[in-house]
């Protein structure tokens, strides 16, 4: 990489970091506003309707800082965020950062496995389908992908549990052990939920990649490559694939974002203590600081994935310049 390129890349990264901060500030503001938009008295809602003692309510209000002017509340929320403080859970009195710190690695692990499975299925399957367009292979792959897209995750999860956990007793039906405690057990527990999520992710990605590859195979540069004597494998892997991956990366990024924000249903079915489950439980419990913190972290994940997609994009496509 030349010096000029390095400078340009550095400048690009700097600008994107500023952009990220701006987006996170907007997210923080949005989370703040949404909480204040809950109809009625948030303190009353958090406490439940059976609590009527104004003193108790005032105490909670003071504890949450809700007795102060809105601007002060807002600035305090931002100031705490800036120091990495997401508040304290109302129910458990544990810091929200600690709760998220426990749930996040679980979700990360699950998302990573599921995403890898999605990639490992979709790239070869998309390639095979596009190269045998209109043939039996293509029909089988395309229709399986359609099933993957249309099947709700809980159906797939329940079917998987029934056969693999209950009937054949090959794998545990749920739960979670940290890989630092028992790596093998951790992996055994991850297989079913990761495959369930991965298959669904693969469904969308296969169709996308197949379409891109078929479009690219019809491009003029493919004809030119064949005319200079390039064999079909060189045409496909040496020319078409990289072009087809450009739009694929965008969709894969969105899928990765969805997985990272926690698969609520899958985590619940397999009793996995990830971000999705943390959010759902605390919405039921009306533990707003936790919900607030989790939403903020999830939004951060999305922004980060998008940033990575942009980097990958400019690497794949020289027409997209980093500046």
């Amino acid at each position: 990489m030349t010096r000029a390129n390095l400078v340009r890349t550095a400048r690009f990264l700097g600008r994107r970091m500023l952009g990220l901060l701006l987006v996170m500030w907007l997210v923080a503001t949005l989370v703040f506003v949404i909480l204040r938009l809950i109809p009625g008295d948030p303190v009353q809602i958090i406490s439940g309707i059976d609590v009527v003692d104004p003193a108790v309510l005032d105490e909670l209000r003071a504890e949450l800082g809700l007795d102060e002017p809105l601007l002060v509340q807002y600035l305090r929320w931002l100031a705490k965020l800036a120091t990495g403080d997401l508040g304290v859970s109302i129910r458990s009195q544990t810091p929200v950062t600690e709760l998220i710190g426990k749930a996040l690695p679980v979700t990360l692990e699950l998302a990573l496995f599921a995403f890898l499975i999605g990639l490992l299925i979709s790239v070869p399957a998309g390639a095979a389908a596009s190269r045998r367009k209109g043939k039996l292979t293509d029909a089988l792959i395309t229709s399986s992908a359609l099933v993957g897209i249309s099947l709700p995750s809980y159906v797939l999860a329940l079917v998987a549990i029934y056969w693999f956990a209950v009937k054949w007793q090959l794998l545990p039906s749920g739960g979670y052990v940290s890989p630092t405690v028992d790596l093998l057990e951790n992996l055994r527990m991850m297989i079913l939920p990761a495959v369930t999520l991965g298959l669904i992710t693969a469904g969308t990605l296969v169709r996308m990649l197949r379409r891109n590859l078929i479009d690219q195979l019809g491009e003029d540069y493919v004809r030119s490559a064949r005319a200079r004597g390039a064999g079909e494998n060189l045409v496909f892997y040496g020319h078409v694939m990289r072009n087809a991956l450009i739009p694929y990366v965008t969709i894969a990024g969105i899928e990765a974002g969805i997985l990272l924000s926690g698969a609520v249903i899958t985590e619940s079915i397999f009793a996995i203590p990830g971000l999705g489950r943390l959010m759902v439980t605390n919405i039921y419990d009306r533990d707003y600081p936790v919900v607030q913190g989790a939403v903020f972290v999830v939004a951060g994940m999305y922004v980060l994935v998008n940033f990575l997609v942009d980097l990958l994009y400019s690497w794949l496509d020289p027409r997209v310049s980093l500046s």
Binding site: E219, D220, Y221, R223, S224, A225, R226, A227, R228, G229, A230, G231, L234, G238, H239, R242, N243, I246, L316, D317, P318, R319
Partner: protein, 667 residues
């Protein structure tokens, strides 16, 4: 890398196509794209294959490299390269043949290179597919190849991506790739059609130089008779998948023996100003080809035998073959004498201005950078009632932007446009509606300018509906009248655009433009999407309508032969400025600006014996974002002096009335 002659001996042909048949079996029936085509190519020879759309010329070329798009396949016949039958080769043998013995370049250089890999990557790939050399050596050879196609700084340009090259440069790269392994035969499928004329001239000169140096035989496929006349030794004329005529180039142009060839030559626009003689009718539907001679429905020589019996190729003279029952009579026919010409002065040529454009400027800002595209920079002209003023220039010259601004389809950065005396940018309400009645437009592409979901009557009535003119009945009557005016049937009103051919669609577009009784018609390349035989019909129609309705045309075109036929006056544009403006005779016979001279010299003439000026412009059209200081043309001008680099030449009037923007132009 030594240059070796790969051609076979003089007696045996290098490439031989024998009774080739290619069919596409589709759900809606079989398309016989190539129907018994035979020709041969000797070592080092240049054979032109000419035809209009659907003639099967490209499919024939694709068959030679076995790259016919699905579901097309060869159903009969053979293609032999130095005696080896190509359709019989295995996939591996084919791959080693393609790009080494037999290379091909295609029409669109913008899409023929893979956008995500560098030019060097694609060049070295082509080299290493056929030569056992290491990467470093291949890269050195690739740089040599880039140098041989005259790309400056070849070493560093290897690392550039295709999007960093202009269209002409990309076609140079494609040529470098094609010739990398010194093929015996190069097949060039419309290699210059997507390029501007001055770039076309450069590319033709380059092909000529390299093929001559390496003894490469060329099959040159094109629709452009002018390019054939300049480049080819021999010509095959194709129509509806069959060969109509084959002859040495000069003989074909001098004494055609097939009525189709004759018709093609006669339908070319010419300078004399008389009516063109188009081939009547439309190109045949490939699914329902006529019985007997495929050309008989459009042929003025057609007789009973032609409707029943397909004529075989036969020779009246050695080396000249023709597929026509009545070729003897055609050969004896002398091309018609020119009919009395109607020059501009005969056609009224009143001095009532319809459109007055003064110092028009149009900039397109580039983001918030402060930079801008200087699309039009101080253009002034006047268009009078009943005349045709042509705006001529290559891509990026600003001709279309100028025209669209005069229609108020976009607002100018500065300058004035007056239509019938009124400033069009000040018009509001009723006055603006009157302007919209008075000024209408016909676009280039009749396939995309007509809404496919509307029937023809509604399409033609739409301007009246928008303007609230007349009752439903009155509008339908007007639509019927317009259909007849442009040479269609009233019953066609109920049909939809997809049921018409390109030429008929352009007639519909013209009828729509005339619906509101305009006085000004802006024609933006109205015939450049049409085949030659149909183009003549539309040009004749435009001329007749101008005469009958006293229309003024602002006619945008890049094809100088079309301009020479239709225009009264011509404005030549370069990089957003008018460099020369004068009567048709002045511009074509006595051009004063070096750019006009170069443009005329680059424009191919369908006459192989024509004397040509040897002016070839070097370089590329500069970017309108950063136009050269002084005279905008100085970077490419063969005459440029110090003053041209510093001072911008004003558009000044010479004593004979011609306007020219050049410091050096003499009276």
């Amino acid at each position: 890398m030594t240059v070796q002659q790969k051609g076979a001996t003089a007696t045996s042909p290098t490439l031989e196509v024998v009774d080739l048949h290619v069919a596409f079996d589709t759900r809606r029936g079989r398309i016989q794209a190539v129907n018994g085509v035979s020709f041969s190519l000797r070592a080092g020879e240049r054979l032109g294959i000419v035809g209009e759309s659907g003639s099967g010329k490209s499919v024939t070329a694709q068959a030679a490299v076995q790259l016919i798009p699905s579901p097309g396949r060869i159903t009969r016949g053979d293609i032999r390269l130095k005696g080896r039958s190509i359709p019989g080769l295995s996939r591996r043998e084919l791959q080693s043949l393609r790009g080494s013995e037999l290379a091909m370049i295609f029409q669109d250089p913008m899409t023929s290179l893979n956008p995500v890999y560098t030019v060097g990557h694609q060049l070295t790939e082509a080299i290493r597919l056929h030569q056992r050399i290491d990467k470093a050596a291949a890269r050195r050879y690739a740089a040599e190849l880039l140098a041989s196609v005259h790309i400056p700084q070849p070493e560093s340009r290897l690392s550039s991506y295709p999007h960093q090259f202009s269209g002409g440069m990309r076609q140079r790269v494609m040529i470098a790739i094609a010739l990398a392994n010194n093929p015996a035969v190069l097949i060039a499928d419309e290699p210059t059609t997507a390029l501007d004329v001055t770039t076309q001239k450069q590319i033709l000169a380059l092909l000529d130089e390299l093929c001559r140096a390496h003894g490469t035989a060329v099959v040159f496929i094109t629709h452009d008779l002018g390019v054939v006349a300049e480049f080819c030794d021999r010509v095959v004329v194709m129509y509806g998948g069959q060969v109509m005529e084959t002859a040495p180039t000069s003989e074909l142009f001098r004494s055609p023996q097939h009525p189709y060839t004759l018709g093609l030559l006669e339908s070319l626009p010419h300078a004399h100003g008389e009516e063109l003689t188009p081939i009547p009718g439309e190109l045949p539907d490939p699914r329902r080809l006529p019985e007997g001679c495929i050309f008989h429905p459009r042929c003025r020589y057609s007789e009973a035998r032609c409707r029943q019996e397909r004529p075989a190729l036969r020779s009246l003279q050695p080396g000249h073959e023709v597929a026509c029952h009545r070729a003897e009579e055609v050969a004896g026919y002398q091309q018609q004498d020119a009919q009395p010409s109607t020059s501009a002065s005969d056609r009224g040529g009143s001095k009532t201005p319809v459109l007055e454009v003064r110092e028009l400027v149009k900039h397109y800002p580039l983001g918030r950078t402060g930079a801008f595209v200087s699309a039009v920079e101080g253009v002034s002209f006047t268009l009078y009632r009943g005349e045709t003023l042509a705006l001529v220039g290559e891509s990026g010259s600003g001709k279309t932007t100028t025209a669209m601004t005069t229609l108020r389809l976009t607002d100018p950065t500065s300058g004035e446009v007056a239509f019938e005396g009124n400033d069009i940018f000040a018009l509001r309400g009723r006055a603006l509606r009157t302007f919209r009645h008075g000024a209408q437009v016909v676009f280039q592409d009749p396939y995309s300018s007509l809404d496919p979901r509307m029937n023809v009557r509604d399409l033609i009535s739409e301007p009246m509906v928008i303007q609230g003119d007349g009752t439903r009945q009155e509008r339908d009557d007007r639509a019927a009248e317009l259909l007849e005016l442009v040479g269609l049937q009233v019953a066609d009103g109920a049909r939809f655009p997809h049921q018409f051919s390109g030429g008929q669609r352009q007639r519909i577009a013209i009828a729509r433009a005339l619906a509101l009784h305009p006085t000004l018609l802006v024609c933006d390349e109205p015939v450049s999407a049409l085949d030659v035989s149909v183009q003549a019909q539309i040009l004749n129609l435009l001329r007749r309508l101008q005469r009958e309705l006293e229309l003024s045309y602002l006619f945008i075109a890049h094809d100088l032969s079309v301009v020479r036929y239709i225009a009264d006056r011509v404005a030549v544009m370069y990089l957003g400025k008018i460099v020369e403006l004068g009567s048709k005779e002045e511009i074509f016979e006595d051009p004063k600006h070096p750019y006009t001279q170069a443009l005329l010299s680059a424009s191919p003439v369908p006459n192989p014996d024509a004397e040509r000026d040897p002016i070839t412009l070097g370089g590329e059209i500069p970017s309108p974002v950063d136009p050269p200081p002084g005279c905008r043309f100085h970077t490419r001008c063969p005459l440029a002096e110090e003053v041209c680099r510093k001072q911008e030449p004003p558009l000044r009037q010479l004593s004979d009335g011609q306007l020219v923007a050049c410091h050096l132009a003499e009276e």
